[in-house]
Amino acid sequence: MKNNYRHSLALALCFALLLSYNSPIFSQNLPQKTISGTITDADGPLSGVNVLVKNTARGSISDLEGRYALTATEKDTLVFTYLGYKTQERVIANNSFLNIVMQLNETSLDQVVINAGYYKISDKEKTGSIARITATEIENQPISNPLAAMQGRLAGVNIIQNTGVPGGGFTVRIRGRNSIRADGSEPLYIVDGVPYPSQSLGSSFVSTVLGAPQSPLNGINPDNIASIEVLKDADATAIYGSRGANGVVLITTKQGTSGKTTLSLNTSTGVGQLTRRMDLLNTQEYLAMRREAFANDGITEYPFNEYDINGTWDQSRYTDWQEELLGHTAYFNDYGLSLTGGNENTRYLLRASHQKQTTVFPGNFNYKKYGALATVTHNAADDRLFVSFTANYVADENDLPTTAFITPALNLAPNAPALYDENGEVNWEDGTFFNPIAQLKAKYLSNSSTLLGSSTISYQLFKGFNLKTNLGYNEIHLEESRTSPNTIYNPAYGLDSSYSSISVNTSSRKSWIVEPQIEYNTQMGDLEIAALVGTTFQNENSNGLLQYAGNFTSNALIYNLASAAEREVLASTDDVYRYNAVYGRLNFNWNKKYILNLTGRRDGSSRFGADTRFANFGAVGAAWLFGEEKFIKENVTFLSFGKIRGSYGTSGNDQIGNYGYLDTYIGSGLSYQGIPTLQPTQLYNPNFGWETNRKLELALELGLFKNSFDISGAYYRNRSSSQLVGIPLPGTTGFPTLTGNLDATVQNTGWEFEFDAKLLNNDNLNWTAKAQLTIPRNELISFPNLESSTYSNRFVIGQPLDIALLYHYSGVDPQTGLYTFQDFDGDGNITSPNDAKQATKVGVDYYGGITNSVSYKNFSLDFLLQYVKQTGYNYLYTSALAGTMANQPTAVLDHWEQPGDGGFTQMYSAGYSDAAYTAYGNLLNSDAVVSDASYLRLRNISLSYNLPIQATLGAKCRLYVLAQNLFTITDFLGMDPETQSLDQLPPLRVINAGLEINI
């Protein structure tokens, strides 16, 4: 073990030596001088313009007055770039002042420099498929998780918010689901060059309210992000080798700008509410349903515990439980402060932010987030050494109930008693009412902190030849607890605080990465060559301690584990994950017309057994900028830009737990006879290895009418084979799954279209629109011996992975009044699997978004409409039998009453009829629970106004109103078409107003 550290240490030292080695052969000592100037556009000073010394990493950014300053030699050329403006290049020569007037550009494409991970490339010359959003789009959204910022804005990227509870997670699928395993399709996240673990440290045992472990991306503050790039095809992802199969999300944090020190203040406040509610029965309708149900079941005397109907509860009461339990207003507060400045050699940025939001639940709960970011970049005066350092720290505190109250909000009888009695105490109605509000006495608390440090050191050994090292460190700590005091239980049990308990999860993850690289750029006539070779050493240590403590002398001591009479360690883990790779890139660019890009990587991961540890990945990408060809330029004049690109290659996936190849026992946390016990952990398979993913992409990019309209279309085909899965096993093997490679191939194909239009562009009015559409298709194309495998009743060759084999619902029988289903095998019974033959797609047909930005003088308006065409599980999937003591949507009013009737719902039953219960059970396994879940959602709208005070006060001031999820149009039969869940809180509708001042 120690040896390995020594190796990497040696490597780092080696590079340090190389950096300090300064051979006279390679230096070109020209005198450096200071260049400064002002950058303006038609309207006046232009701030934020990038000024770069060509072929170096040195540069500056213009300040609020448009001023810049840097040092360079006479032979250097300065490159001025700004999004939406033409890039300008000026040779310095004898000048010491260079004032630049930037021209609005119709061809913005080639100015956009895209982060492709280990290298940067202009949008125009990219060979791969890379989608991107920038700070402008992120800042317009009142969100706390960067994934939320990406929703609906990127072609080929489908993001679903899992819960509206703060701190909750997202499901991200880049170009579809590649893995048969439900959880193996997570993309790779890279923050400032450092891999960011997407596996949560949280324990779903503790964070019950979120329905899943808490999202680790909460550790990144959206306000600090300069851009997010998503790498999709082989050309872009192959350099990430084994971890690129599901796409790569690159997050770049903001950098300082040189020039006059600028202080920026941002504050906003807002309110949030539930986006959508269900129409439920009122008391009268509900009780009528109940009476009819008992009559149908042949029960005349209402059973003792049916309190709603047997006279125990007041039958004239009515409460809207959705309003009572989920109808509160959540408040949002946001403050940000940043300071930036520096000179041409050194720039810095300091940011601090604070966010607070409350919840829609009753009670006083909130989520708080504190963030700090510090970045420094420095380039030495001789232009050869470049150093950057970024430290990003986020702490969050989440104080929530332990349940999201959705189930009681929808299921409580509308005549259930009041939540509180006249003394303000929880009302148990003499033990007949399972009062959901009692759950407020149980709390979920979490505290986490994330520190991300990254540094890049690059040194130009000689012209075009750079040595570079990325160094990264990240450390995440999480402590979360869930209490269960005895007061949440019905007092009839007579339980005292000896039945109070707490579960505490304390975990941390430390990870470091060292990535030495060599870059070489050269030009031979018309041919530009860029080469990169590098290596990665990554080490990740994760610790977890899950403890349970119970039997307290008083509930006041519940957070003091030492005062518990019972203590158990449920899990104590200490995992090591190591990762090692060599990678390279070779790019040929001939005359800026023909581009060939080769990338490759050899990877090793400690997650695999010794024989299957290493694998090779690679890709080839090519682009032809045919718009540059003479015959096009001369003959097709409306075409201002034209490119065909394509790529093919492989990337892999090692997203499987650590140590899967070992036969192991673990401490179960239980003890017996005072002996801590051991338990077998898993069935083991020493031979599993990499999952590989072959990606093919073809794309056409066009710019029309001086790039007023940009259109691009891409076709992709990803084939994922050697599927790394937890193969489900029957219970008789003792365990539910076995980790292994499955000889199955999943294909994701799809079309992605993007359309950008600059509709209006004059002095006062500017209107741009963007639209994107993704049409994905997922198919299981081969699966040898599927029929005899444990997947035989889950998948069908030729069908998507997202299908369910279900009974086919065929309506309510007019005679019996019960749900009926197609009897596929004709045996007279509805049984699985022989009758569960209806392959029902539960997934997306197409999705996309439409963005519009309009600015008029000092006003600007942006909005994003997100649309998704899909099918999903509707409320029936988790519904109670209509007629039992649970409220129902008004849809059940259309029901069978007497022979000859049809209806949406079968005859009501209070659960005492075996036939009705069985038919209901079959309905839950039928295609009736899957229906249209398409929606059109105004995901985001923002309106802002720049106060015209800059000239007089020297400050910029912006007022804005932002809204998220303002409205949703859908026919979905359930609460929310996005979460599609009846136990998770849907995303909230949030309206925020704020003020930003730059001094």
């Binding site: 490597l11 052969i25 515990n305 003499d430 033990g431 009412f433 399972f434 007092p491 009839a492 049990y493 007579g494 000896s498 039945y499 060599i518 119970g550 039997n551 009479a565 019972e566 883990t573 200490d574 090692n580 060599v582 090793g604 010794a610 290493f614 650590n658 036969d663 192991t664 026992y665 179960s668 239980l670 003890s671 017996y672 006879q673 051991l678 338990q679 077998p680 952990t681 069935l683 096993l729 029957p730 219970g731 008789t732 093997t733 003792g734 365990f735 444990t790 035989s792 889950r794 049984t831 699985s832 699997p833 109670a880 659960g911 005492y912 009829s913 075996d914 219960y917 069985t918 059970g921």
Partner: protein, 461 residues
């Protein structure tokens, strides 16, 4: 000249890098087994770790499925499924469909019981395979580990066959075999259970070494085997085996002490995890206010106690809300928050063996012997000797006595009604939804999908 130097320099550097890398990669990726996991090989080199794995099974049996006093155990599930417990919860509990007899093949609790049982069988088989022919242990150690593991394996399969009907009998940890297993006829399963228990009897220590009756020893295996032989209607063997246990176990004559952990007639019990925690049974059965928060004893069970039966006073508790009285099982009276554990969860106790022998003898025609064993139980309950004398009436007397003696102890009522073909006759009146096919639980649907060799599903599902 200059460019050549540069190129050479770059080439050397690149090669140097690759050579360095190729030498370091393999070492770097070699991670040790983490300190919180023990490899299977290591476990079976040390008595202590095998012991920890062995008691791991008892901890699981105590906390999860089948024999646990928690609501997912048979005491609650089969108690509500038959006529021992009524269901009162205003909030849906997993036992609700059991109470209403509306089990579906997709019921999660049914799957939990199935999977939990086979997981423990795996753990037992892993021990059997791990200690077999081991050079690390003495023959005595091997014998006792094997004996316990065989006993566990037989015990769990015994419950499975009585709940699910024909089942696979799992004797290996090899998943290549276990994933395609077929169901075997009840008779074959019984033969295997008997064979495992016979072997366990030979291997287990002759007396309780734990000092608290918390680990199986020979008499425990004998007692279970007596029950198995009774179920298999091998009356002779059942009677003989019961006698073996009765002869070596002292009788607790005070009904107030029967469930105290020191009671001499307890054969096998589960030790609670913590001192002062006491039993899950007490936590889940006792309530202090009416109406009952979850479950209460049925009036039919309460009516089954003869007047003057001490067990009604001592082993049930009552709560009145003014107009109505509700009863709960009060065999376990101590709850958490006490300084010591007064009670453990009893799995096997001597009273059952008297009733096993009584029933076997009644069937064999040894009527007076049968009556005398029944009276042993009645005497402790403060009741007069049985009036039954004929075979038929004696058998009924045994059944009645089992009902009031063994209520809410791991589903005796269900198994007794079932093996004496009284399920339908008894339950059709008190359980409106009762069907003949409810005598078996469904095989979990997911299991049939994953292993079609388990088909067909039990009738009625």
């Amino acid at each position: 000249m200059k460019t050549i130097t540069i190129k050479r320099y770059a080439t050397v550097l690149l090669w140097g890098l690759f050579i360095f890398l190729s030498s370091s990669c393999e070492d770097f990726l070699e991670v040790d087994t983490p300190n919180y996991l023990l490899s299977g090989e290591t476990i079976f080199t040390d008595t202590k770790t095998v012991e920890a794995a062995m008691v791991g099974i008892y901890a699981q049996l105590r906390n999860n499925v089948l024999l646990t006093g928690n609501p997912q155990g048979l005491s609650v599930l089969l108690g509500t499924y038959t006529d021992e417990l009524d269901y009162y919860s205003p909030y849906p509990l997993p036992e609700e469909p059991f109470h209403k007899n509306t089990l579906l093949a997709t019921n999660p609790t049914v799957a939990e019981v199935w999977n939990g049982c086979y997981n423990q069988i795996y753990a037992a088989n892993a021990i059997l395979e791990g200690v077999a022919d081991s050079i690390y242990f003495t023959p005595d150690e091997i014998a006792s580990f094997k004996g316990e593991a065989l006993f566990i394996r037989a015990l769990i399969h015994f419950y499975l066959v009585n709940i699910y009907g024909d089942i696979p009998y799992i004797t290996t940890t090899n998943y290549h075999i276990n994933k395609n297993v077929e169901r075997e006829a009840k008779e074959i399963i019984y033969a295997k259970i008997i064979s495992d228990l016979e072997e366990a009897r030979q291997l287990l220590p002759a007396t309780d070494l734990s000092g608290k009756k918390v680990r199986p020893y020979q008499a425990v295996a004998t007692a279970l085997l007596a029950r198995v032989q009774l179920y298999a209607e091998n009356w002779e063997q059942a009677s003989q085996l019961a006698t073996l246990v009765i002869d070596e176990t002292p009788w607790e004559s005070d009904p107030t002490n029967v469930f105290l952990k020191e009671s001499p007639s307890i054969l096998w019990q589960f030790q609670p995890e913590f001192e002062g925690q006491n039993t899950f049974e007490a936590q889940n059965f006792i309530f202090e206010a009416a109406p009952p928060p979850a479950r209460a004893l049925t009036t039919t069970l309460m009516d089954a106690f003869e007047p003057g039966d001490l067990r009604k006073d001592l082993w049930t508790g009552a709560v009145t809300d003014g107009s109505q009285t509700f009863y709960y099982p009060y065999k376990y009276q101590h709850r958490a928050g006490e300084p010591f554990n007064a009670e453990y969860s009893v799995v096997l106790r001597l009273a059952e063996l008297y009733l096993v022998r009584a029933e076997a003898n009644a069937n064999l025609g040894n009527l007076s012997a049968a009556a005398s064993d029944i009276n042993k139980i009645r005497e402790r309950a403060g009741l007069s000797p049985t009036t039954a004398t004929a075979q038929e009436t004696l058998l009924n007397a045994v059944l009645k006595e089992r009902r009031v003696e063994l209520f809410t102890e791991h589903g005796h009522r269900f198994f007794d009604l079932k093996r004496t073909a009284n399920l339908d006759g008894t339950l059709i009146s008190s359980k409106p939804n009762w069907n003949t096919t409810d005598r078996l639980f469904p095989i979990p649907e997911k299991e049939l999908l994953l292993n079609p060799a388990l088909n067909p599903q039990n009738p009625g599902y």
